[in-house]
Amino acid sequence: MRRTPVLALALTTAMTLAACGSGDDPLATDAGSPTEDGTATSGGTGEGEGGEVIVGSANFPENVLLAEIYAAALSDAGVEVTTRLNIGSREAYMAGLDDGSIDLIPEYTGGLATYLNPEITVTSSEEVLADAQENLPEGLQLLEISDAEDKDSLVVTQETADELGVASIADLEPHAGDLVLGGPPEFESRPNGVDGLQEVYGLEFAEFRSLAAGSNLTVQALRNGQVDVANIFSTDPAIEENSFVVLEDPESLFAAQNVVPLISSDVVNPAVEDALNAVSAALTTENLTAMMVEVVSEGQDPAAVARTFVDGI
């Protein structure tokens, strides 16, 4: 029962590390230059087929699942698809989109918008999307957003919530100096991470513990008291399973995070667009969380869960 997450975790991180060890650009190993093919065809006669689409994903299970869903929907639409999963953090896979080693990745509007424009102030779904569209690098585009949102969130255990009487991030202010905050290493340097907590809520935690081995480790550390406040995603099944309390975010430090396909314009054609928009129309936070329980808690194969979902659209 415990073994699957352990193995998955070990594999994921091993792959991430392997990728990081391979030189300047972890994504440029065997790219097979699909974009060059694509550009050549569309530059010539503009035939409809558009060639192969390489679907990438970030290095956490939900993004892998979403990538599998995109891949399944595209393959049903007759598009040739390959997947390149578990690439790394946004900083890593954006470089992959740029150099053509991937063509499509499931993104989150808020994270992308903040990455593209660290000074972003808007937080609603529409405004965040508009901001991301505006700052998107040339050659990339966003298709329709879904209702499914996977936000960054700060969670505490039920005991901590009761003991300190906290229900929102703002309530942490008098206690932060005694609390240890835990999360992935990138949370420390992101504008809406540790810095944002200080600027927006005035929170100075006693320590930030950087946990690089996936949310499973962060959840364990929170459950066992090595960290008091943890940064995990709002769709993480562990929240439900451990009755963690998701702290409210009254100042909207964490912007809207609608799931959206980020795609290289070279591979966009009506068939691709229709297939991905149909996925976006069907996705909700609820069915995404339900699928996450199947993948993470029950250990089902993400590709199989994705296939069932796409068949049901």
Partner: protein
Amino acid sequence: MNQTVLMTWEWLTDPANWQGRGGILAQSLEHLRLSFVALLVAALIAVPTGLWVGHTGRLRWAAVNLTGAVRAIPSLGVLFVAVLLLLPRLRGELAFELPALIVLVALAVPPILSGTYAGVDATDPAARDAARGVGMTGGQVLRQVEIPGALPLIMSGLRSAMLQIIGTATIAAIVGLGGLGRFLIDGQASRQYDQMAGGAIAVAALALLVDQALALLQRVVVSPGLSSAARVR
């Protein structure tokens, strides 16, 4: 390329990166602390075992095969398994530190163990016979003949173990511990290559420094009659 070298150089020479709680100095000290604790524990296990195996000649096949097998264990995998097993059972910092120590000790035992038993094993049989001939007990032979004779190989086992420990201690940062690995893990997460490269150089420099320090120690503790420099003369 030149850009990266330049940025790395700037990162390494910026005094701000050396000072403070997360600075290079503080992380080097933390790295050393973890490394020396691991080396000490490994030596406490491996040296007595190696001496016993070398002196008695018993279980040599086990020592050879086990050290070979242990060397093949993937450190990262052991770290994750240990963390996930121990985290619910331990409180506080120890829950992260013990798994990291287990990994480093497992890594360091084989070179020390094989160095020790090989050193004892390689004692000149004539010297051993002579020692027995003048009436030494088994314990006296071990203490006065075999251990001094084995010291160069024991020391080289310790040095090679320490090099591996310092290199591998970087993975402790994955589970949130300090040390120079922080710069590699945090740098990768935020794509700050200058920080990653600078951290890697710092690890290499620390490993070389410690190796040189142990080499000095080796010259002090090894009998002059055994050192290669003396033999050349």
